[in-house]
Amino acid sequence: MKSYLSYFNLKFKTGLQYRAAAYAGIATQLFFGIIYTSVYIAFYESNASNYPMELNKLISFLWLNQAFFSLMYLWHKDKDILAIIKNGNIAYELCRPQDLYLMWASKILGERLSMVTLRFLPVLIFALLLPFPYKLILKTSIPFFLLSIIALVLSTFLSTFLILLCHIICMFTLDEKGIVNIFMVTADILSGLVIPIPFFPSFLQKISNILPFRYVSDFPFRLYVGDINIREGIIGIIIQLIWIIILVIIGRILSKRALRKAVIQGG
């Protein structure tokens, strides 16, 4: 266990060094936050009724998404892991007396947590200082707050295992484009990062309720702004747990299978 923690630590600390990338990331997140909120505000201003979400809840939701974007987005490709799969250095990883799955999971988790640590606070502060319709409102009640914190922690693990699964699929395809790209785009859309789930047509909402992607970003933040009630919140957390278990099992089986017939690329 200790060794996995140190992988995590290593990645986390290296990640914190990339300040310039973080500034650029913050700027991008702020920019997109402003675009998204402006578009939705324009929509709400020009249509009288039938809103799937209240405007101030929606705006806060969009800002929370932007602030924690680097923890939530599923379009993540770990260059190091992909490189060792492709160039055959995976052989070295296999020589270590450690579990490949846990090792990679702690690396991905470390990198993403370092990214979000550098980024979320400036975005939140900026969003809090904006004038009224664009403003992020952090006010919530204690039960919602506690539940959404639990949901956020679980979704961090959920997204890590989803991304890890993509990388394990790469061990079969030896290519991070093609199928993996299609999987990642679908995941990104169904996670509600592109547009919030309540705006989906109803059949897609039903599909996304079953799949794990929605529980990554849509669920914890909509819970926070109070768009999901407590009962659904508790059910959602249970679904998150179930999906985490399923993903870990699938990921482990696939990685074992991939290693059994692993062909070491290159020489």
Binding site: F32, D175, K177
Partner: protein, 258 residues
């Protein structure tokens, strides 16, 4: 020009060496693109209009922008990836050759996979046009053509400006994506829906408005003035300025060494 054609055929041949990968990437590009399209359709499923613009009007705006952007990403990819040339020191190699430098930069990389996006944006353009209630005449057709050309010119200028920026910073910063991707996101809606500040920026600083908003108003018959037809032409000025800046950058360029 014949040199550029040669580059084109060369890159096509090398790309087709990996057929399966090419086809799969082509398909996955389709999915990525579908994401944007899906967003607009979903939103208009819930709302009837955005500041008076209907879904097909927005799709027309959207397709003009994505057409220009993806066209440039296919044929002028080298300019988009200019920081790679500088970082790896390969730019020195190009400078030694007695050919036009811009042309050589263009020819460095040509991304045929993104052709699928050009096709998709054309399909959406056609869908939008078929569903729009517009009385077409020669002026309006001309406006549409100018919009498409203007969009290409605009993105080429943006790529060139981003490349010129690399002369100063060496490594191309992610910030440039705010200019291209961010602009693309904003300008996929008619810019009139935004607040004044945005409209000013998108008209005078990054002139997306001249490409897909002001001429759009003419096509939709919301303004009658003929001046609006020719507004995409202003992007040529923008291109000239950006090319001048680029040449200035080339003159000052000092190699990173290797």
């Amino acid at each position: 020009m014949s040199l550029y054609l040669k580059y084109l055929s060369m890159h096509l041949k090398s790309e087709l060496q990996y057929k399966m990968s090419f086809i799969l990437s082509f398909i996955s590009q389709f999915f990525t693109f579908f994401g944007y399209y899906f967003t607009i359709l979903c939103l208009f499923n819930k709302f009837s209009n955005i500041k008076g613009f209907t879904v097909y009007e927005v799709l027309l705006t959207f397709s003009i922008v994505t057409f220009g952007c993806s066209f440039c990403e296919v044929f002028f990819r080298g300019m988009d990836q200019f920081d790679k040339l500088i970082v790896e020191g390969n730019f020195d190699r190009l400078l030694l050759r007695p050919r036009n430098i811009i042309l050589q930069v263009f020819g460095e990389e040509i991304n045929y996979v993104k052709l699928s996006r050009v096709l998709q944006s054309l399909v959406i353009l056609v869908i939008a046009l078929l569903n729009l209630n517009v009385e077409w005449n020669i002026y309006k057709v001309l406006t549409l053509l100018l919009m498409m050309l203007g969009s290409i010119t605009l993105f080429l200028s943006l790529f060139t400006i981003a490349a010129t920026y690399c002369f100063i910073t060496v490594k191309g910063l992610e910030i440039r994506h705010v200019l291209t991707d961010g602009g693309k996101h904003l300008a996929q809606y008619p810019i009139g829906i935004f607040r004044k500040g945005f409209v000013l920026v998108l008209t005078y600083i990054v002139p997306f408005g001249f490409v897909n908003y002001y001429p759009l108003l003419y096509i939709l018959g919301r303004v009658e003035k003929k001046v609006y037809i020719f507004s995409p032409i202003t992007t040529i000025l923008y291109l000239i300025v950006s090319l001048l800046l680029f040449y200035k950058g080339v003159k000052k360029y000092s190699s990173v060494g290797s």
